[in-house]
């Protein structure tokens, strides 16, 4: 049977991809941010998951505002990156696992998460950058990936509580799949940041650290907050942090905290890396 061995969080901001592409990761501005990924990279190297499910939001590459699914699952064997408007060279296509995806979709719908299934799904920086930060850049990616997109762009977006519940349903879905696959969940985006309006540049380090610690050890804590409250504290784009709860919900209630790294600011953002491991 498939099993979830752990979860990893990462920021997914475009600047991360640019820093990797331009070999800036050891420049003074970036060094501490990227050095803090090394233990997470080592953990993935050691555990060698067969499949990574990447929980992210699309920023207007695959989804326009004509149709905006709250939760959408990639159900294809290949996922392509593409030009997001700033003419960067797309990275190599990602290998999916359609049969596994369809199993997850069936199980989620059975559990009353009526998810949107996507047989063609372009993946943007929200999906690509965490993989690049955690695996490096490759012509052939070393792991099979499944994109799980959460709408954090156009409100109404799902609540923190709903995201945690989705994670729990995702665990049931994965662990009922008959193939012997080791699975890791990436929760991406966040932490606090606001790009828009006169309040742009907001970062709330205390709230970020509290979120990291609670998501690791007491994720229910996050569910007390409405999305308005999260945005008030963490900024409009900081709402992405709810996606960490999908990852967290997919793990056991008590997990081993393998690694915890926080850096701020990076670009406009507070950035956190958690590596959480299930006790097997």
């Amino acid at each position: 049977m498939a099993k979830i061995i752990g979860g990893v969080t990462s920021s997914h901001i475009p600047a991360v991809g640019n820093a990797i592409a331009n070999n800036l990761t050891q420049e003074p501005y970036w060094k501490r941010f990227f050095d803090g990924y090394e233990p997470a990279k080592a953990w993935l190297q050691e555990k060698k998951p067969d499949v990574v499910i990447v929980v992210y939001n699309d920023h207007g590459l695959n989804f326009f505002l004509d149709k905006m699914p709250t939760f959408a699952l990639g159900c294809a064997d290949t996922y392509h990156n593409d030009d997001e408007g700033w003419a960067l060279k797309p990275v190599a296509p990602f290998k999916g696992d359609a049969a596994f995806s369809w199993h997850i979709a069936e199980s989620l719908v059975e559990q009353k998460f009526d998810i949107c299934t996507c047989q063609e799904m372009k993946v943007d920086h929200g999906f690509v950058n965490p993989i690049r930060a955690l695996y490096g850049t490759h012509d052939v990616w070393p792991v099979t990936t499944i994109p799980l997109a959460v709408n954090t762009v156009q409100h109404p977006v799902p609540t923190a509580a709903r995201c945690l519940e989705l994670g729990r349903a995702l665990r049931t879905a994965v662990e009922s799949y008959p193939a012997d696959l080791n699975v890791v969940i990436f929760g991406t985006g966040g932490l606090s940041h606001q790009l828009q309006g006169e309040r742009a540049g907001l970062i709330d380090v205390e709230f970020d650290l509290e979120c990291m610690e609670r998501i690791a050890n007491d994720p229910e804590w996050m569910t007390q907050f409405s999305n308005s409250e999260i945005m008030r504290r963490a900024g409009t784009e900081g709402i992405e942090t709810i996606m960490w709860l999908v990852m967290r919900g997919a793990l056991q209630s008590n997990v081993k905290v393998v690694h915890k790294h926080y850096h701020a600011p990076i670009s406009n953002t507070g950035a956190g890396v958690l590596v959480l491991e299930n006790y097997l």
Binding site: R32, D35, G36, P39, H59, G60, L61, F64, L65, D82, D83, E84, G85, W86, A87, V153, Q154, H155, P156, Q194, L195, Q196, G197, E198, R199, A200, G201, I203, V205, L209, E213, S226, N227, S228, M231, R232, T236, E237, V257, H259, K260, H261, Y262, H263, A264, P265, S267, N268, G270, V273
Partner: protein, 133 residues
């Protein structure tokens, strides 16, 4: 038409992108989304006004686009991620835009950001359990 109100509407300096914004600025966001394609970017740059007309971007929306008034666009309902597709390739980074929103220079905006990291290593050490370089 009666739009419901939300408690996020009183967050200062913040324009939460919701149905009301998305509905009102649909043609504008569709124009911005079109910049994912190189040939559309070229077509826009050749004649921005005609490109607005093609997408039905009119009135104040068109004015904001032609003036590259990003705060005006945002207040009128442009989505920040879609707006970045127009701004970034034309020399306005997200930090330049943030500075414009506040009426300060990009250097000042960046300095304010950097100040958020003051004493970070000590704060993390105090909390404990963090990788700390």
């Amino acid at each position: 038409m009666t739009w419901t109100t939300h408690d996020y509407e009183n967050i200062p300096g913040t324009y939460v992108f919701d149905g009301k914004h998305s509905y009102g600025a649909y043609p504008l966001n569709k124009l911005l989304f079109s910049f994912n394609t190189e040939e559309n970017r070229t077509e826009f740059d050749a004649d921005p006004a005609a490109y607005c007309d093609k997408f039905g971007v009119e009135g104040k929306y068109k004015e904001f686009v032609l003036k590259k008034d990003f705060l005006g666009m945002l207040r009128a309902g442009a989505n920040i991620y879609f707006m970045a597709k127009m701004a970034i390739p034309r020399g306005t980074s997200v930090q330049d835009a943030g500075a414009q929103f506040q009426g300060i220079t990009t250097k000042e905006f960046q300095a304010k950001l950097l100040a958020k990291g003051d004493g970070l290593v000590e704060r993390l050490a105090k909390r404990g359990g963090y990788w700390n370089g």
